[in-house]
């Protein structure tokens, strides 16, 4: 029986004019359902590419990607959209909230296209922003904005929550709060959460830590006893 998510010899080659850049040079790994995975690596190692391909925002050049028994590496653009729509939740470094929408509306933006969304107010409450629901993003702090982004991703009730440097633009404390939120979500909702970071300190909190380097997997470590966020210092 295969894993929940499986990457098999995934390659990604970018054609930049006459130069081919191999972003991923054959990547293999698997992720189980409900796992909190940290993908770590230095800038340009290919971790974002992995996330993008996994999240259906990009396609691989070759190799197979199977998510929950479906081979998404063969998906058309439209199938990928549908995949993103129902199965994936994204959290970005720069939140990417729609400036012109309130907190609640930003969450609504995601839920209105889902089949089984979570309750919006509950989700907002869960991220601790009940009293800011009617505020616009510009009225919120970075951490709050990131929480909105998480709420937006969660409200979709996705199979996978993909986070690309979620704390990159945040201060230490706020970052921690966000990580906590992600970890709690993972534990409470048994959603597979994949966090990308260049901060190796964070690897301690992952169930699985995948280290990437130069487009290849450097190591995959299973962390039997992941630390809770509070205990991590970075």
């Amino acid at each position: 029986m295969s894993s929940y998510i499986e990457f098999q010899n995934v390659k990604k080659i970018y054609h930049m004019g006459e130069v081919d850049i191999e972003a991923l040079a054959g990547v293999d790994f698997s992720i189980e359902k409900g796992e909190f995975v940290v993908i770590a690596g230095s800038s340009g190692a290919g971790k974002s590419t992995i996330l993008n391909i996994l999240g259906g925002m990009d396609t691989c050049t070759s190799g197979e990607i199977i998510v929950d028994g479906t081979k998404i590496s063969d998906f058309s653009a439209k199938q990928l959209t549908t995949y993103r729509r129902y199965d994936i939740g994204f959290v970005f470094q720069f939140y990417n909230l729609v400036q012109n929408l309130t907190v609640k509306e930003n969450v609504e933006l995601a839920t209105q296209i889902c089949k089984h969304p979570l309750d919006i107010d509950e989700t907002i409450h869960a991220v601790g922003l009940s009293d800011r629901a009617k505020n616009f993003p510009s009225q919120l702090s970075g951490g709050e904005q990131q929480r909105v982004a998480i709420a937006r991703a969660l409200a979709k009730n996705p199979k996978l929550l993909l986070c690309d440097e979620p704390t990159g633009a945040l201060d230490y404390q706020t970052g921690k709060q966000i990580l906590k939120l992600l970890q709690d979500t993972c534990r409470e909702r048994s959603v597979s959460v994949i966090v990308i970071t260049h901060n190796l300190a964070l690897t301690a909190m992952g169930d699985k830590v995948i280290k990437v380097r130069n487009g290849r997997i450097e190591s995959i470590e299973i962390n039997e006893h992941p630390l809770s966020v509070e205990r991590i210092e970075y």
Binding site: N52, K78, F94, N96, N100, F136, S138, K156
Partner: protein, 1082 residues
Amino acid sequence: MGASLLKDTIREIKGSFGRFFSIMMIVAIGVAFYAGVKASIPDMKHTADQYFDDYHLMDIRLLSTYGFNAQDVEAISQVDGIEGVYATNTVDTLANIDMTQMVLKVHALPDVQKDTDVNYINRPKLVTGRLPHKSGECVIEQGEEMHQSGLSIGDTIRLKSGTDTSLDETLKTTEYTVVGTVHTPYYLSYEKGSSGIGSGKINYFIMVPQSDFIVDYFSEIHVTIQGAREKNSYQDDYFDIIDPVKQALETMAKQREDIRFETIKQEANDTLTDKRKEYEDGKRTFETKIRNHETKLKQAYTELIQHENELKTKQQETFTVIQDAKDQLSKGREQLENGKREYALGWQAFQAGKDTFLSQLSQVDEQLSTLQTHLEKMEETLASIKQSMEDPNMDDETHLQLQAQYDECMENKQTLKQQISILTSQKEQMEKEWNAQETKLKETKQQLESEETKLNTHTQTLEERERIAHQEFAKAKSELDKGKREYEQGVIEFQNAKKDGQEDLDIGKEKLEQAEKDIQALKKPEWFVLDRKSHYSYMDYGSVADRMEGIAKVFPLFFFLVAALVCLTTMTRMVDEQRNTIGTLKALGYGKNAIAFKFIAYALIASLFGSVLGCSLGMVVFPTVIFNGWNIMYTLPPISFVAQPMLAFGASAIVSLITVLAAYFAVYKELKETPALLMRPKAPKAGKIIILERMGFLWKHLSFTQKVTARNLFRYKKRFFMTVIGISGCTALLVAGFGIQDSIALVVDKQYGDIFKYDLSLNVDQDATTQEKNAVLNNMRQDARIKDVMGITMDVGTVKIADEEQSVTIVSPSDTQRFQTFVSLHQRSNQEEMALNIQGALISEKLAMNASLSKGDMITFEDAEGKIHQVKINGVIENYVGHYIYVSPETYKQLFGIRQSDTTMIALMNDTSEKTERALGNDLMKMEHVTSISFYRSLADSFSDMISSLSFIVIVLVISAGLLAFVVLYNLTNVNVSERLREIATIKVLGFYDREVAEYVYRENMILTMIGALCGLVLGIGLHRLIMSLAEMENIMFGRNIDLSSFVYSFIITLGFALLVNLVMYRKLKKIPMVESLKSIE
């Protein structure tokens, strides 16, 4: 400011070509419109001038109140600066073409047309066929679809005079064969001015050989001037050449006027003298004749009297004589009776005397016998004596005794014998006397008898004579009476003749006096030296070209505004994107200007490219389109362009300035900020609660994406305005384009449907009697194809408006009540029917508008005879084609002094199919005194043709509108997409399908488009008004209406453009890379 900055700019252009393109395009459109419309003015004028030059249009046209003679022509050609002189004639004639009476202006061409001949002026441009070579040949103007003459080569035209003067006095022949069709620079349009004959409007011109004019003067002289052709006659330097020659001509004209005046005066005086002499002779002859006649009459009278007297005398005499004779006769008869009585007495006495006589006679006889016996005894004695004596023996004494006895016996015997003789003689005497007495008595009796016979004869004769005399006298008397009557007749005749003769003489005298007065009042001949400023076609076309100035003012303003907005939004967006770079550059120590340079250069380069594109396209396309548009009504050869570098440069400069300003304005704000601030991402424009949200009930009903759209709309005001203005401009152009068609279509529908309800109008001879006119009317009334008919008067006149004479039709119906069935006189505003009052007139709207008159004012007009009339305006009525003054018969009488008469019949038909019309027309034309027939359906058709040819304007406007919409929407979408790249990427990541993403973005576009389109509908009304007022001719009022369908079409087409842009942008949306968009910091 180094090369690296320029390089950066060029790379920037390459990198954001869509943005660059949109600025370039809007600049191109703006410049194309501005330079194009502006250039069309000189281009039109240049083309016209070229046409004038190529066909040697006269520079100066001379007219004279007395015409010109050969000396005049000679004198003109002597004036300095004159190049060519062509003395010619024209005459207005009538001809029936296709049942309609047309006014044909006859112009002349030189008999031999040589291109090298400088005196060959106003050359026609041959379209088909050839020019006339000999008498009886003509060319006719080439009609276009709008204006078909219905004549083709080979057809014959029969010209008729429209005045009392026969055409034979002017033209050698009145029958012309069409040998070709032409255009002429002399008439650029179908408007050839008014005429004193026929309908009052010149329908066509024809050109015939000059030698066909047989008048001994020239009615006009055309002159070209040296060096004038090199100049554009619509420019001042042309007039710098013309004016001195014109002045010279004017000076010369003064002299010629004097010379001519003297000649004319002399001629007139000579004629007058001749006439006077003629009159005097006539008078003398008349008087002599009268005198003779009178004398003769007198003589006749005297003779008559004499005759009468003579007759009387003679009668008297005759009857006196007869009476005398009668008297004598009766006297004679008396005498006769007396004689008879006397005779009877004599006879009695004679009878009584007879016994006495017889006794006396017997006594005598006894005596005698006694005596005889005595004698015998004596004898015997004697004889015895003698015997005794004889006895010789006897003695002597016995002898002597015997002797003595013898002697005694002898003596006794003698005595006895004597006694017997006495007695015998006595007896004889007695018998004689008796017999004499008896004879006398017998004679007397005879005499008496003859006398009686004579008397009787005389009486008879006299009676006969008397009878004859009576008869003769009666005859003589009757003859005399006859003579008298004849004389009296003669007197009457004489008096009449005298009276008539006197009258003729009086008339002659009056004429003479009038002629004398005329000579005294003889005006100096006046020469009119008219340059092209007095030439209708030249001025008309010039003003048409100048009218484009109005459009050139409005359109570009609008496009420049849109260009500014497009540039502003684009540059703002670009500046936003380049914040970081700006910050970096600033941090590196570049000055504000150096940094601004990139943006300004960007805008400038876009503008320059756009300008070049706009100028090169616009200055060809727009002049061509505008020129060809006007050429529906004008007959100029194809457009020839004139280089207008200043305009191109100016337009480019203006638009470049605008874009550069917009760019500077966009970058200015950012430049003020510190590099540190600039290096950090710009705080995204904060979301705000919009008004709509405060209206909870409404907000709640909006779907989520609708809310998003609503917020966005209110967020970007610049874009909002740019789009609304741009799109409204697009819609406005469409509305105007469709509206033009509607308005012109309305002219047909309203004029020939709502206002003129009649289907045909028929003109009868002006000179026809009332009876004859009624006959025509009755004939029409009885025709089954005609529903109703009535007679009206239609007179032509002119109204002077701003020094320009505009022709007007004065209409007076015979029956104002029935007239309403045929023509609806109503106000446009409330459609209220207006009555023709006894006093005052109703005038057509355009006339009122042109003359700035309204209800209650007085309108002054001139009739065909040149008399001025004034009438009060009772109301202004809806009318589209032509100027009309409607008056009641009463007012007509008051105005003109003569009664309204039915010279035009207007009729409603039961069936207006072309077939029926043709048949009816043919039948009606056969009636006497019918001069022309017009069917209004055909008029409506020709108008419709004009509209269809106007559709190209609509095409141009639709294309312009499309371009505008495209540029604006493309720009809007482009800016929106690039600015909201993250947002779009986000929703894409969230799993929005492409269609949903597009909807998310486009909803905004569509709403803006709709708002713009709605604004455009309103704006379109204004634009439409402007264009209509510019395109309007002086005697046609176009409607100001736009059909609902046009609004709908415009709206739909605008949305269609928006959809098209969206479709183009859809690909771009699809291609937005999620990963990159989300990763980068703005």
